[in-house]
């Protein structure tokens, strides 16, 4: 059969493409490879591109701080184009041919899930996602379907949804319309938001789901506007979100806006026009202010001449650093050891290490001495629970003048109290 010949040909080509034969050796083969899968083209392209910048920065910091077990880390980035088939193929290639020790990135849950269930978990390779929020991952972990190889550095949408509901009640909004993106992220957020809001007082008068990549969202905006709400909640990504907010404001919608975390980006504020966002507030996960957050901001700003505010950027940095630390703690670089070491970067009472190359160097020294560490990252303190989820503090942001500003933060304790109040 012709395709069998073809397969043979493919084998030869593949062999040429992979330069590192697997060697059975004690100690890692240099460089240590870390795989990244991000949507760099397609509708999530603008989001993925900035996240990849953050990942590259983190890898630089790891290398400047001493690498992994004396080896430099090589970051191999692949584009999933927002297509699951492409993402799975890339993951399989990274794991089998490039022999990466771990994978990070993966934005939409629709791409992360197939990578997890068909590549990462069966091959026992840890997958640390920066951005996939679907509740499904928690369910799968509880059922033991992930083998414990899945981690994510951003809390599930619940934290955000509850925090924004609390502020909506505090500001005295009565009738809220919601326009949300029709993905697992949007639907999950809205479900939790409605649950919280109804418990706390205000009413959701209309929810409108929108599909990405429409030429215009005027129709959706009109439906939400028809109820004459006194506040609106946008769950969107910066590009669609800007279109929608512009249409909302032009059509005379209220400027009492609640915005989700993805809209905390200078690009969004600039596109809409800051003067229309003075009454808006949004929330974001963690990013509790503090020296480690500020250090990351400064370093990112210096490198890319851009603010790191935007979806997934802080989280991706922590994903890479968490892996870098865990790989150094792990006795060897098998998937099992790395998985089992990830929670050792958050030892209670350990010496606090922060962001940037110097802090990474400090952490390596501590690890070498066998001392416990506690990583406080670009998103504040990071604690993975049994399902690989992080619980988080929330932050309320607003627009002051032309710029994004932090209004205040809700600590983990505040959030726990809030969850208790809502979930009973």
């Amino acid at each position: 059969m012709k395709y069998l010949i073809g397969l043979g040909l493919g084998a030869v080509l593949g062999a040429l493409a992979s330069q590192t034969p697997a060697m059975a050796q004690s100690g890692p083969a240099c460089p240590v490879k870390l795989g990244g899968i991000l949507p760099l083209t397609g509708s999530m392209g603008p989001v993925g591109k900035r996240i990849s910048d953050s990942a590259q920065l983190a890898v630089e910091h790891v290398n400047a701080g001493g690498g992994v077990k004396g080896c430099p880390v090589q970051f191999i980035l692949r584009d999933d184009q927002g297509q699951s088939t492409v993402g799975v193929d890339a993951a399989k290639f990274l794991v089998d041919v490039e022999r990466v020790s771990a994978i990070t990135g993966t934005v939409s849950s629709g791409v992360t899930l197939p990578i997890l269930v068909s590549v990462a978990a069966p091959s026992k390779i840890p997958l640390v996602s920066c951005c996939s929020t679907a509740a499904t991952f928690t369910t799968l972990a509880q059922e033991g379907k992930t083998g414990g190889f899945f981690f994510r550095t951003l809390p599930t949408v619940k934290t955000q949804a509850y925090a924004s509901a609390a502020i909506a009640a505090e500001r005295g909004f009565k009738r809220i319309s919601v326009i949300y993106i029709n993905t697992d992220f949007g639907t999950g957020m809205v479900k939790d938001f409605i649950k919280a809001v109804e418990k706390l007082g205000p009413k959701v008068v209309k929810t409108v789901a929108y599909n990405e990549n429409q030429p215009s969202y005027r129709a959706e905006v009109n439906v939400a506007l028809a109820e004459k709400p006194d506040a609106v909640f946008f769950v969107a990504f910066p590009q669609d979100g800007a279109t929608m907010t512009r249409e909302w404001v032009s059509l005379g919608g209220t400027q009492n806006m609640i915005l989700n975390n993805s809209l905390r980006s200078p690009e969004y504020v600039k596109s809409v026009g800051p003067k229309f966002l003075q009454n808006a507030y949004g929330m974001d996960n963690a990013s509790v202010s503090g020296p480690t957050v500020e250090a990351f901001k400064t370093l990112f700003q210096a490198k890319y001449n851009q603010s790191p505010d935007g979806p997934g950027i802080y989280n991706q940095y922590d994903a890479v650093i968490a892996l870098g630390l865990a790989m150094n703690i792990a006795p060897n670089l098998t998937g099992d050891s790395i998985r089992d070491s990830i929670r050792k970067i958050q030892t209670a009472g350990g010496t606090v290490v922060g962001t940037g190359p110097d802090e990474f160097k400090k952490a390596l020294a501590l690890i070498k001495e066998g001392k416990p560490i506690k990583y406080v990252g670009a998103t504040g303190p990071l604690e993975f629970d049994a399902n690989g989820d992080v619980s988080g503090a929330a932050l309320i942001w607003t627009v002051k003048g032309d710029n994004l500003a932090v209004d205040r933060t809700l600590t983990v304790e505040d959030m726990n109290a809030l969850m208790k109040k809502i979930d009973g």
Binding site: K49, E220, N222, A242, T243, S271
Partner: protein, 300 residues
């Protein structure tokens, strides 16, 4: 609410109509469904944004968010896109036509051309959304409960003027008559001494220029993205077929029908299904009146 949906429907419809005229021309004169036509909209919009980034969108004139520079940019984009259309024809469609390829081969080629054109935009201008101007307008209430932006009213009027001018051109100019003759019967047109090459060239020029204008208007009232044209593909084709392929007024009415149907549909069905509305309309028309609303019965 319903009034607002109708007003928005007219605006979306006018932009779709401008794009659909090009689809319609290529269906009738070049005799194939050009799936890469929607990418010409994207190119037009981006060429204009490049022009604007050199010249700025200009000081706002009256209530509009832009100045005369944007109109200059539109003209520039129209010319640029027309050239691009001719270039694509010269590289891809022309050779296939000369070889006497099946018209469906041209359709496949247009699939490929679309992919290339769309990703070139991504490569050249990057994936971020862009705007001609960051000014945000506040809508004025034109009728009770019907709000429109001054820009939108301007776009509607301009689109109407363009269609009228095109109608006069096709009706009375020599070239316009040649194009109509070619649409009726290429063989007869050739016998009567119509220069086929020239007609084809002008068909591309017109489609390209109109697509560019549709792209700029869409970018002006919404935003610019590399996928903006591709996302209009189904509406454009629906409008052209609805109008009966080849008839100018048909394409315009088809465009308005699609725009209205999309915007009115959200009153009765969940907004999540909005993108399927043009298709359902198309299916209904093809089933009930295969020659289109305004097309003559098929001559075989």
């Amino acid at each position: 609410m319903i009034g607002q949906a109708i007003a928005d429907g007219f605006l979306t419809g006018a932009i779709i109509a401008l794009g659909a005229i090009g689809v319609s021309l290529s269906l009738q004169i070049l005799r194939f469904a050009n799936f890469s036509h929607s990418e010409l909209l994207t190119w037009g919009a981006y060429i204009a944004v490049t022009f604007v980034s050199f010249a700025t969108a200009g000081v706002s004139v009256g209530p509009l968010s832009f100045g005369w520079q944007l109109l200059a940019a539109t003209a520039f984009a129209a010319a640029g896109t027309a050239l691009l259309a001719i270039l694509v024809d010269w590289l891809v469609f022309g050779p296939l036509r000369n070889r006497g390829a099946n018209h469906l081969t041209l359709v496949f080629a247009s699939f490929g051309a679309a992919l290339i054109l769309r990703n070139l935009v991504l490569l050249i201008w990057g994936p971020e959304a862009r705007y001609y101007t960051n000014e945000l307008q506040i809508a004025v209430e034109v009728f009770p409960d019907v709000r429109m932006l001054p820009d939108q009213i301007f776009v509607l009027a301009l689109a109407f003027a363009i269609v009228l001018a095109l109608h006069l051109f096709l009706r009375f100019s020599r070239l316009g008559m040649a194009m109509r003759a070619m649409a009726e019967s290429p063989a007869l047109a050739r016998i009567c001494g119509v220069e086929i090459g020239k007609v084809i060239r002008w068909t591309w020029i017109l489609s390209g220029a109109l697509a560019a204008m549709a792209g700029v208007f869409s970018g002006l009232t919404v935003q610019l993205r590399p996928e903006m044209g591709f996302n209009l593909l189904l509406p454009l084709f629906t409008a052209a077929i609805l109008g009966g392929g080849g008839s100018l007024i048909g394409a315009v009415i088809g465009g308005l029908a699609v725009g209205l149907a999309e915007n009115l549909s959200v009153l009765v069905i969940p907004a999540g299904y909005k993108a399927a509305v043009p298709f359902l309309l198309l299916l209904a028309v093809l089933f009930l009146r295969p020659q289109g609303l305004f097309g003559a019965a098929e001559r075989s």
